[in-house]
Subunit: 188 residues, 2 copies
């Protein structure tokens, strides 16, 4: 997996168009991954993200214990595994093994950067106990960001083929691919 | 503009795939609209949303004063106005007039449902002073939801043509259309 660093000030671009994400986590020799459609940028500089993580999940336990997570942006080719990651619990066994996923620890966090994804945001949680308790809502500061340079470089997405497009989750196993890019001018 | 009620429990589907939104607001005879890419569902039942609204905007002033807003999902045909709505301030004059936008008050809120959009979520803010102050982050409860039945019905999007697709914002005037739908099974 080729990864190129994305400048922190540009890292919001990896999430700005609303793709589904995989939240990966690790603590004390245990790791996990879950799907999260409810993730978005929260600030530019320093870059922050917001993501909803159900408090009953193993992911929440690992994120709470480690104070860290990675938001991975899966390519369309990974859609079946993204769906499966949202349909089973890591409490029933290591999901990476169960789903055939691989990954390695980030530069700043122990949570894994998942192979087959096209962008990665390494985050530390900014503790917000009320948000976490009432809304299952986590705020993270982005410590490092990466993208597959075949897909994102110079601050722009340029999907080389459909298998490497980002995807957007609807429900019930249905996704949309990220579609055609187009530019408009404010004074059109 | 044809609008059909969307059951509240299904209203998250209008935002789940991460489209750009227009936030409309009204208070004391003044109205406004701004673009917000940073919006997402926050809960299913009762349905909630999270949206980032810069505290320096007229929208924030109107939302704070009225306790309400509408998240409108613009169609691709409205992309130029969505960009323009994000590029000027309602403090310089009524944006609806300036941009040629029209709309009428919602069923539950005074904020307008904007013509040319394909889905609408009427929301009341759930006051979270710390989120609003520190992160410009608003939590809203969805009171009513609507969609153009030519585009969304029976809990599914079915875009009849490219002009009525939802859109996803990148930066600098670049958008993506919502692309091809596809289904996967968790055990593929």
């Amino acid at each position: 997996m080729t990864r190129q660093a994305v400048p922190l000030a540009k890292s919001y671009l990896l999430l700005n168009h609303g793709p589904v994400t995989l939240v990966s986590s690790a603590h004390a020799g245990q790791r996990n991954v879950m799907a999260a459609a409810w993730a978005m940028p929260l600030d530019f500089d320093p870059p922050k993200v917001a993501v909803v993580i159900d408090k009953n999940t193993l992911t929440a336990a690992l994120v709470n214990a480690s104070g860290e997570f990675v938001l991975n942006v899966p390519a369309r080719a990974l859609a079946d595994k993204a769906l499966a990651a949202g349909s089973c619990s890591g409490r029933d066994g290591d999901k990476f093994a169960a789903l055939g996923l691989a990954g390695e620890a980030g530069m700043c966090v122990a949570a894994p950067l998942i192979d087959g994804c096209i962008a990665w945001l390494e985050c530390r949680i900014l503790p917000e106990p009320r948000n976490q308790q009432v809304y299952d809502l986590y705020v993270g500061e982005v410590l490092a960001a990466w993208a597959d340079p075949a897909v994102f470089s110079e601050g722009r997405w340029h999907f080389p083929d459909d298998a490497r497009r980002s995807i957007h989750y609807v429900a019930g196993g249905q996704f949309f691919s990220t579609g055609d890019a187009f530019d408009v001018k404010a004074n059109d």
